[in-house]
Symmetry: D2
Subunit: 142 residues, 4 copies
């Protein structure tokens, strides 16, 4: 049984059309999205680092926000106007040099007006998250 | 293998001595604590409700903060002076009337100076959390 | 010019009726509320302390949440069903022993569905806040 | 009387050397920094927008984080290794098309180990913030 209203292929088509600047660099891949969780991978690039070799905060925040949007779309279908209202991030540890960043998002609540979720951000194959995010999306009334 | 530096019995003795006003009402029980996670149960009482029958925000925040302290103590041993520096809570749904509240806390990071964790707050036997917390404790230098 | 839809006297009457357990102990006073800001004072009591003499986190969270509710009511009128959806608190420093706690709340946004505000919590006459809160209320559709 | 340990010119030299990728595009200017507050301006660019014409979340988070770092440096002097541990952002309203974004940061606490501040993000000349941030920096021991 699946809860997804959009397949990964449908999500990619929608996001390429609606959010070309966020998605079409080709460095973020949607590995899965099932209406409750999503798994995204951002390919390693020097651009994601800040001095000292850690993954920059804005890179992690942007990926987490995007992973939450993907799981929300997979749950409610193509709604371009959902907007983030709150995002809270805890930075936990340095990532591994030269590794991809993986975001695992999970919906905690899907209401009519608000969706809340959490995202773990992982570096390479380590199970210890480098950052943890909770965020809220406001869903437009239809 | 266990990671706990204190058993549940040792935690209860310590908390009864150091935090009598938070702990000694007898309405909160530590069901487990293993150095990585803790599970606490607050017995239902009318005092925990606000009008409309929902569990009050301060009740949930206090229980979550306490569950984080318990998992931290179980990881590092009896340190009375650890203090919360940040707590973020998302209120997700109403609880079930007349039910206990259960807190499941998990350490996301245990550093020398800071510990970060998340807590899911559950009502009765429903798997859907009524609230979700992330918080940070500052650990005194020794 | 005032922006308030309810006077302080009207707020007190409403809150005594709707939230007797939060408000009617007589230890919290609404000093002002003008549709944009509110100022509340919680009279010192030993019950608000945790060991070490600091004001307990739940006391501060409860007062901040209440101050946000008061400024929201003063802005939109008596809406009993507004609920907190998110609260983020940073604990900054110890309070002064034996002093009242003062909450200064300010609306950052008043939308149709969501209100966001910040609250500074002060101890005695010191200008340095002991804690800082941001929170979001969800406003029911009418 | 000033509390600043570094002048704006010293801050710019330090940041150009230590954080060239964040700072040297020339689109962010430090307008002031006095050890308690900082004011930064990010010049309008199409790159900061997301579809619908709103300023993107990552742009706002990055600017707020940077403004907090600038006020912290101005308070404690050149410490390259301070790192953000927590950032909480509330998105409040759309910005004005084609306008600069201004960040006003203010330290709430400057401790030996942790600094906490808040940042208001403004669009053009409107006094109503488009987003509000609180964040914590961990300061390395010396």
């Amino acid at each position: 049984m699946t809860h997804a209203r959009m397949s990964v292929a449908e999500l990619e088509t929608f996001l390429n059309r609606e959010f070309p600047q966020a998605f079409s660099h080709g460095d973020i891949a949607i590995e899965s999205a099932d209406g409750r969780t999503s798994l995204l991978r951002q390919r390693y690039s020097d651009r994601m680092l800040r001095p000292g070799g850690t993954v920059s905060g804005p890179t992690l925040m942007a990926l987490a926000d995007f992973a939450m949007y993907v799981v929300l779309l997979s749950a409610i279908g193509p709604v371009a106007l959902a907007v983030t209202t709150n995002l809270n991030i805890n930075f936990l540890r340095k990532g591994q040099p030269g590794q991809d960043v993986v975001a695992v998002a999970r919906l905690l609540k899907l209401g009519k007006r608000l969706a809340v979720g959490e995202v773990s951000l992982l570096s390479g194959t380590s199970p210890d998250p480098i950052a943890h995010v909770t965020s809220t999306y406001s869903i437009p009334m239809t």
